[in-house]
């Protein structure tokens, strides 16, 4: 429960810091991914139970999954900000649609891979 609030606070802080600026910040892509990493590591530590002896491959697998997710998120974010940078005014709406489309595409690809 605390992780989303922490992420929300950090995001809010970042937004306040960028309040006066009208230029789209390219570092937002990295910050978004860093927030995801922080949230994932936080939930991993909460899930961790020292009594359960996990196989080593399981830990490596989780690290690999997290790395893949971070890479994909970074890619999506850069594409998103690049798109938003092209036109500033209708960028937000377009970006939202773009995010939804990108995510849907990734989901379809993953579902196909899984099948």
């Amino acid at each position: 429960v605390t992780i989303p609030w922490a992420v929300l606070l950090v995001g809010g802080g970042y937004l306040l810091a960028r309040e006066s600026s009208t230029i789209v910040d390219g570092w937002a892509a990295v910050i978004g991914v860093l927030l995801l990493i922080a949230a994932e590591l936080g939930s991993w530590s909460i899930d961790h139970d020292a009594r359960i002896q996990a196989e080593r491959s399981l830990v490596l697998r989780r690290i690999a999954t997290l790395a893949a997710l971070v890479a994909a998120a970074l890619l999506v974010n850069f594409m998103l900000l690049a798109t938003a940078g092209l036109s500033a005014s209708p960028g937000v709406l377009l970006a939202a649609v773009g995010v939804a489309a990108a995510v849907a595409a990734v989901a379809v690809v993953l579902r196909l891979l899984r099948a």
């Binding site: 429960v1 910050i31 009594r51 002896q53 938003a84 995010v99 989901a107």
Partner: protein
């Protein structure tokens, strides 16, 4: 299979929604960039989540073991779907401990994979132990959804108490009619010399005592004691016990009863069992190894069950207590009902010996004050109770864990040797 969403799913969904909405309201593309990774994680996690289909079975190498032995157990998993993270926990009952292996364990299963988890279990305490259930929990790769189920494979492991080897047991006053190892007090056909008497018609020639005949100038024959078997009833008091940690008076009682049953069955005696407590159990006297297994199996199910019902000796079926049987009672003498039953048995003329499985070592004396006085009164009352039983002609010996059972039996033997019958 019960499915539920983790708080992470709700948290990511909330963050994504709030972030996208804020981006539209504040017209900040950066907010979309902050939100997009969570949205992506959400979509990827839900897409990759597949309901698991796993069969779980628990197998034991053997279903019977002796106290202190190790038993190999296997948890067999067969999955028809990929499971990113599967957590397993085999619930072990009290008395069974994990010696080697991983429990609980987390692992990954591919589709169609069969996995065997080897465990080495230690049988720490006697009893009929039911293993399991096995709790199974599966998670999707990003931990958004959880599936839980319980595998109901529950094998039973019967752990037999380890027994002392008894060199000598209590001899009953009366023997039965069948052949056994006990030398009867009566005279008849046997090996043990009893007396000599004058020859009478029909006496076989081999029984003539030539030395005595030559001295007396007349034919004299040897008389002997026949070897007979006896009826022994093992009376286990399961009304109450004193327990401290892993050990209690019931554990000592069960081990001693098993040792006694083994010794008497080895002498070809008929042995019966009465577990007198909250739940009454009995076994009519019988002979042989099968009877020994019956007794030990019945002992494994013995437990202290709280009961306020006042039981008297009349509730025991008559054929469980044959006449002339030796009744050996093992009791902590904590419950008035069992003490009353023992006195009742003695009053009915049964040959009774009581092994007082002492609860005193399981209840340490308080440091001081009124508690210490109460403790001292309690121990004095126990002494008085033993004296009361002895006054009734019952051989009583106190048994503490650090004393060998054989020594206690010898104490009872000595009492029986010199004590006289008493009318009660």
């Amino acid at each position: 299979l019960r499915r539920w969403a983790t708080p992470k799913l709700a948290g990511y969904a909330g963050l994504s929604g709030a972030g996208l909405l804020s981006a539209l309201v504040f017209a900040r593309p950066e907010l979309v960039a902050l939100t997009a990774p969570f949205l992506l994680a959400l979509a990827a996690g839900l897409t990759l989540a597949t309901p698991p289909s796993v069969k779980v079975g628990v197998e034991l190498d053997q279903n019977r073991a002796l106290e202190g032995e190790e038993v190999d157990a296997r948890i067999v998993l067969q999955s028809s779907t990929p499971v990113d993270r599967l957590e397993l926990y085999l619930d072990l009952p009290d008395g069974i401990e994990l010696r080697e292996g991983k429990n609980p364990v987390a692992l990954h299963l591919r589709a169609g994979e069969r996995r065997v988890i080897e465990l080495k279990l230690g049988a720490a305490r006697w009893g009929g132990h039911v293993l399991g259930p096995t709790y199974v929990r599966a998670r999707d790769p990003l931990g958004l959804l959880v599936w839980e189920t319980t595998a109901e494979t529950r094998p039973e492991l019967r752990v037999y108490p380890h027994e002392d080897v008894l060199r000598r047991v209590l001899q009953p006053r009366e023997t039965q009619v069948f052949t056994g190892n006990e030398v009867s007090r009566h005279k008849g056909e046997g090996i043990e010399f009893a007396d000599i008497r004058r020859w009478s018609a029909g006496d076989p020639l081999k029984r003539v005592n030539w030395r005595a005949s030559a001295r007396r100038g007349d034919l004299w024959v040897n008389e002997s004691h026949p070897e007979r078997n006896t009826d022994v009833i093992l009376f286990v008091d399961s009304f109450a016990e004193a327990r401290r940690g892993d050990e209690g008076t019931l554990d000592l009682t069960v081990r001693a009863t098993a040792a006694l049953a083994d010794a008497y069955v080895g002498r070809r005696d008929r042995v019966g069992l009465i577990a007198f407590g909250g739940i009454l159990r009995w076994l009519v006297p019988g002979m042989g190894v099968v009877q020994l297994y019956r007794i030990v199996d019945a002992l494994l199910d013995t437990q202290v069950v709280l009961s306020y019902y006042w039981k008297e000796i009349d509730v025991i079926p008559r054929r469980t207590l044959p006449p002339n049987a030796l009744v050996i009672a093992l009791s902590p003498l904590l419950d008035a009902r069992s003490v009353g039953a023992l006195l009742d048995l003695r009053a009915r003329g049964y040959d009774l010996a009581v092994i007082d499985v002492s609860p005193v070592p399981f209840a340490p004396r308080p440091a001081g004050g009124i508690d210490a006085v109460a403790y001292d009164i309690w121990t004095l009352r126990r002494d008085a109770l033993r004296h009361r039983l002895q006054s009734a002609g019952v051989a009583v010996a106190e048994w503490r864990d650090d004393t060998p059972l054989q020594a206690v039996l010898e104490e009872v033997r000595e009492f029986r040797r010199y004590a006289r019958h008493a009318r009660v």
